[in-house]
């Protein structure tokens, strides 16, 4: 009975599903495309930071737990650094692309999202809140308004933002 009664709505829903364009799941932009876009299609060679000693300790403090890897790749050119970082939301790692300039976030983007909830953080309306945000001690210097039901994804994004800002500062200090 219920199927008969709402058959039109069911058909409309199925059509809606069927006509949707097919994308690879959760990959919004590849790492390569993000880096290419960041450096206007002329990306520099990538560098690597091995997480050891004080750097590892500080990254652990900024994330609240150790980073899930030994090496972090970065790209640096004309005072701008770009980072590809991963952080777990609830159970799955989310891949973020972050660009830092003058110790502030120029841009942050969700490159790949693997969780079943909390994907709202990928929207530009949400990520643009991070533009111009810096690091003050162990915290971001601006409050970020969350999305209901995406709290863990928001925490992950805040965490990688702090790490990218710190590592960029670390590189800059090293080269002085």
């Amino acid at each position: 009975m219920i199927l008969k009664r709402y058959s039109l709505l069911i058909i409309a829903t199925l059509l809606l599903v069927t006509v949707s364009s097919l994308f690879a799941r959760g990959i919004y932009q590849t790492d390569e495309d993000f880096i290419s876009e960041a450096f206007l299609k002329k990306p520099p060679e990538n560098g690597r930071i091995m997480l050891g000693g004080d750097v590892r300790k500080r990254v652990t403090s900024l994330l609240g737990h150790p980073y899930g890897g030994l090496i972090i790749k970065y790209w640096e050119k004309e005072g701008k650094t770009a980072w590809i970082l991963e952080e777990i939301g609830k159970t799955e790692p989310i891949t973020f692309g972050i660009i830092i300039k003058n110790s502030k976030i120029e841009k942050i983007k969700v490159l790949e999202f693997r969780e079943s909830r909390g994907w709202e953080i990928k929207y530009p309306a949400f990520t643009k809140q991070y533009n111009g945000v810096g690091l003050e001690g162990d915290k971001l210097d601006k409050n970020i308004d969350g999305v209901s039901g995406a709290t863990l994804s928001l925490w992950a994004m805040n965490g990688v933002s702090r790490v990218a800002l710190y590592l960029s500062q670390h590189l800059s200090n090293k080269s002085k």
């Binding site: 219920i2 199927l3 097919l22 799941r25 690597r48 309306a125």
Partner: protein, 403 residues
């Protein structure tokens, strides 16, 4: 750097050796030149070895890093988590027939289990023990419940299909109810008595992202089963040998495109609220809408929900109209402290023609202290009044966690 130092040392030694050995046999300029050439060659070899070693260390680090990540990915195929909340209630009844409530209860102990079969196909479940002890007899008030057990498939990056036993897409707390995510020791009464949170059914659901920040959920599921003694909205069958004479459909539209704002509306429809078991009980429709607005440290939650249930028997009981709403402003002082106030009112017999009022109202005020981002201690004062019955007021203390 070390190589340079070593070289300087060698040259110094060679010169010193030259002078000290001068008494025996002074090397010729040609011999010194040869020695210098030999050392230069050694230095070149050392540099090459050093570079090779550096490359090897980097390669080992990269391989180890990749191996760790692969291992994490493998380990993440199956996941588990959970939440729990311990409550202490000390409420004093005022008025005839209104008893005191003084109890301590491990209200909910929940475990999640999940497994990812493929990137686009996963299983998720929620298993709960309510009130700590389940069994026959009044001294075992608990229930063991399977609240979620579904397979979810990502058709594409804007469409998900869920099949099995899942939470009905309605209200604020029905899908997100971990204790660290809300204020107040006990859940609000509107989302308990009008929306029967936690409300799960079995069926199929399609979630479609229509535009960035605008999603549509359509769920075809099993339904509620009102009885002649109570046509209350909280007539869940919990998918336990449930009557399936009449199915249900829930549609939700949710807007979250503006950071800090969520606006949603849900419509639930069931062709026979009593599953054909009660004469004079007909179709049921529930409408719910809510908004959550968060700006910096301030947050406001507002929700309305109401039912229309057809049938003479339902109407005679005054249960043909049931509704309620609440408003909850809150302020988060810092990472640790937050305070809230809430006004809530609901009526499960709003269709009653009797002069006796059946509305229930409650005012609450309290605070949360987050010991850790997902571990919270709570305190609140609540003043509840039931029309024509009496008041109840007192304090609640809680401890909750999720992981």
């Amino acid at each position: 750097m070390n190589i340079k130092k070593s070289l300087k040392g060698l040259v110094a030694l060679a010169i010193a050796g030259t002078f000290s050995a001068n008494a025996i046999a002074a090397p010729s300029n040609a011999e010194i030149f040869d020695m210098m050439q030999e050392m230069k060659k050694e230095l070149k070899n050392l540099k090459a070895e050093n570079n090779e070693l550096k490359g090897t260390v980097e390669e080992v680090a990269v391989s180890t890093d990749e191996a760790i990540k692969a291992q994490i990915k493998l380990a993440n195929k199956s996941s588990w988590g959970g939440y729990g909340e311990l409550h202490y209630n000390n409420l004093e009844g005022q008025g005839p027939g209104v008893s005191d409530t003084k109890k301590i209860d491990f209200h909910r102990f929940v475990l999640y289990f999940g497994h990812e079969f493929r990137d686009d196909l996963r299983f998720f479940s929620e298993f709960e023990l309510e009130h700590a002890l389940a069994g026959d007899g009044d001294d075992k008030p608990g229930e063991v419940e399977l609240e979620q057990a579904y397979i979810q498939y990502d058709y594409n990056d804007t469409t998900q299909v869920t099949g099995g036993l899942f939470l009905v897409p309605i209200g604020i707390m029905n899908e997100t109810h971990e204790p660290d995510t809300f204020y107040g020791v006990e859940r609000n009464t509107v989302e308990k008595n009008i929306i029967p949170t936690t409300w799960w059914e079995a069926g199929v659901m399609v979630k479609k992202e229509l535009k960035p920040g605008l999603t549509l959920d359509v769920a075809l599921t099993s339904g509620l089963k009102g009885t002649s003694s109570a046509f209350k909205a909280r007539s869940r069958q919990k998918v336990a040998n449930a009557k399936a004479n009449s199915g249900a459909m829930t549609t939700r539209l949710k807007y979250t495109a503006i950071p800090g704002l969520e606006v949603a509306a849900s419509l639930f429809m069931q062709t026979d609220f009593c599953q054909g078991q009660v004469v004079g009980c007909g179709a049921a429709t529930a409408f719910e809408t809510h908004a959550i607005y968060k700006k910096d440290k301030f947050q406001l939650r507002a929700l309305y929900a109401g039912w229309n249930i057809d049938g003479d028997a339902v109407k005679a009981a005054g249960a043909d109209k049931q509704n309620g709403y609440y408003l909850e402003p809150s302020y988060r002082f810092n990472d640790k402290w937050g305070a809230f106030a809430r006004y809530e009112t609901y009526d499960n017999k709003d269709g009653s023609t009797s002069t006796a009022d059946t509305e229930v109202k409650a005012r609450s005020i309290g605070f949360n202290y987050w010991i850790d981002p997902t571990v919270v201690a709570k305190f609140d004062y609540v003043d509840q009044s039931k029309a024509n019955e009496g008041d109840k007021d007192g304090i609640n203390i809680g401890l909750g966690y999720s992981f």
